[in-house]
Amino acid sequence: MSKRVGIVGAAVTPFKAKWYEKTYYELAQMATADALQDAGLTIDQVDGVFYGIYNDIFQRAAIPEHPLQGIIGLQNKFGIRISNGGATGAYTMSAAHAYLAAGRFKIALVLGVEKATDVFDFQSMSATPETIKTIGWSGDSFFEQKLGWTAADSYAEVVLAYMDDHPGDLKPEVTAQISSLLSQQVRTNEFAQRRYDQVTPEEVMNSRTVVYPFKELEICVYSEGAAALLMAEEETARAISRLTGKPVIWVTGVGESNEHSFAGKNQKLMSRIMSDHIAAHQAYAMAGIKDPLHAIDVVEAHDAFVHQLGITMAEMGFVPLGRANDLIEEGIMTPGGEVLVNPCGGLIYSGHAVGASNVMSAWSARRELISRGLRRALIHGTGSTIAQYGVAMVLEHD
């Protein structure tokens, strides 16, 4: 019988377009120290660390986690690094959950960190094209990288295939309204990269097309930052909660799925994000959820692109496939709607510090559950080429 696992502490550093003042060493240490403080723990009480770092090249080092072990005070203890594309943070939480549930540890640290904009393109004298190139090394090295593969054109393939099957869904007016809504929600996230960048739907509509059909204000922004969680098995979690007076946020469901990376017969069905569908429904089954729209109060979804967020919400059962417009037109995610989606502003406005992003989502979901007294949240991570990886996690208030 596996043990129940809960979150007892969480912290994020500010997510910034560029941290001139700090390397990823200090960002990782800051998040760790703040999470420990939040949980009322000291580092010697922690049994091991799960690092979420996506890309070696961003950190400019292979095995970039090795210097962190001593910096965060966990020398001579367990440390493992998880790297799963955009879903790195979510997969890192999933791994920590498994070790704790298995009884290997009592308390584990989840530490996501990324410095995505130290890279620089000396031809355009700007960072973004080099950031995109660095992620571009994630495409298939034999058959795709030399075609100019990028994360955006890869996700756009899935979105356009979905729109081939569901013409009229994901209307430009709807995606613009979702982005505008997220830009309002980000106001309450004091750590967000674009906290004060509120935009109107018209501004979204008028922003330039980066990769058709995505406009600039419909895409997550790359970021630098760290996020940390302290997770514990039930007995320890309850003891910590008694000391801090903060409720345990339990992980009651976890699901993961990696699709095929090539498309066609018996392979990836391009118009679907089956990874999200399978991961979410696996997590619902574990948590005993039959009707996610009514059972879940808060969703912190990985919104790499607004259109993908719409499809992900459909795949996770909040609207039928082909009816993503309902998220806005039926008021499902508008203020006062049935579900609060990305109250942190999502990665589009908070920033995407890849390894830290989904951990930041969990930090936000926990905060919302506690501060608003809500019952259940869903965390989601997506990543790799053509939305190949999907992870979902159900969190519940004590």
């Binding site: 001139y20 003042e21 090249i57 400019r60 620089f120 393109d121 000396f122 031809q123 355009s124 004298m125 973004t128 094209p129 080099e130 995109i132 190139k133 992620i135 571009g136 298939d140 034999f142 058959f143 795709e144 030399k146 075609l147 100019g148 593969w149 990028t150 955006a152 054109d153 756009a156 393939e157 356009l160 295939a161 729109m163 081939d164 004060y196 960048d197 509120q198 501004e203 008028n206 922003s207 330039r208 097309t209 980066v210 990769v211 058709y212 059909p213 406009k215 600039e216 090539f262 498309a263 066609g264 017969k265 018996n266 392979q267 391009m270 118009s271």
Partner: protein, 332 residues
């Protein structure tokens, strides 16, 4: 290969000089160093060698057919079929005409290695005889690739580069409708056999007094915008280290946009050899773009704005970024 034709695996212009600078944040200096993480390879194409050699030497496309279930995978990215308990596969040749699996995306803002190639499409084609889709670049021989030109099920033809290395980029596809029936039927059709319509500068209608007056009015607005941008630090930063002279031609008149390391100047006149020529019937297209009330990229996509060099999309993006920076600073 003669020395002059040799290419480096890293473009020389992408490589920075050794050095660095300091950035002051909150009264403290932070050191920023130019750096690179580079590794060179002599990388074997292993089991994919027959596929890449066939592209390079025979202008053929190979797939792998499962000897048990018969599924044909293109590219032949596995030698055993995981759906049939890893039964062996065999190489087969497939067709060079196919249909798009889904509507392909079009990249306008590429990664730093592909900035000069935008806009380009990348999609997946189901070639005749194949069950799985091959990732390919999608081009048009008729000017700039715009949405709607290539969609799901559009029939496309594989075209081979004249100079091939044995890489996936040795081939690309164009809509079959742009070719003659003979070209569509021909195996190993090469890029030099396709009629690539030269980028012809669009003709402008002749101007009357109304157009000239409108030009003057919009020219004034453009100058105001440029002055505001030059007073906005963030907008100035967007064109730091960038220098371009742009000739703008409209029905009502011509003007020069000059980007000079953080400074944008608008003036009347004609320059002999501009870095870029922009043509739009109505100067309002440019004014709206810079005022963040429209998008220059969208104007290019919908043929309201013509630019002489695709490679200069980088300059377009910098101008659009300035527009957004100015709009943001005005909000604050």
């Amino acid at each position: 290969m003669p020395e002059a034709e040799k290419k480096k695996v890293i473009p020389l212009e992408a490589i920075p000089d050794v050095g660095g600078h300091t950035v002051n944040v909150g009264g403290r200096d932070y050191l920023v160093l130019n750096d690179a993480m580079f590794t060179f390879y002599q990388r074997s194409m292993g089991e994919f060698s027959p596929f890449f050699l066939a592209l390079r030497d025979e202008k053929k496309i190979l797939g792998s057919r499962c000897t048990h279930c018969g599924q044909v995978r293109v590219p032949p990215f596995m030698t055993r079929c995981p759906d049939c308990n890893f039964a062996p596969t065999e190489l087969v040749e497939v067709g060079q005409v196919g249909r798009m699996l889904s509507t392909p995306p079009i990249t306008y803002f590429a990664n730093s290695l592909f900035q000069k190639q935008v806009p380009f499409g990348r999609g997946r084609v189901l070639l005749e005889g194949a069950d799985t889709a091959l990732s390919v670049n999608v081009y048009t021989s008729k000017g700039i690739l715009v949405p709607g030109l290539v969609k799901k099920d559009t029939e496309v033809k594989v075209v081979f580069r004249d100079s091939r290395l044995g890489e996936i980029s040795d081939i690309f596809v164009v809509p079959a409708s742009e070719l003659t029936p003979e070209q569509v039927a021909k195996p190993g059709l090469q890029e030099s056999e396709v009629n690539w319509e030269a980028a012809e500068e669009p003709a402008l209608t002749s101007a009357g007094p109304d157009e000239a007056n409108r030009f003057q009015e919009l020219y004034g607005q453009l100058q105001t915008l440029a002055a505001e941008m030059n007073q906005t630090e963030r907008a100035r930063k967007d064109i730091a280290d960038w220098r371009r002279q742009i000739q703008v031609k409209t029905t009502g008149g011509q003007l020069v946009l000059e980007i000079n390391d953080g400074h944008l100047e608008v003036r009347e006149g004609i320059i002999p050899s501009p870095d870029l020529v922009m043509v739009c019937q109505d100067l309002d297209v440019l004014v709206r773009g810079l005022a963040y009330k429209g998008s220059l990229t969208q104007a290019i996509m919908f043929r309201q704005l013509w630019i002489s060099k695709n490679a200069e999309f980088t300059t377009i993006f910098k101008l659009e970024r300035m527009a957004r920076s100015l709009a943001r600073s005005k909000k604050k």
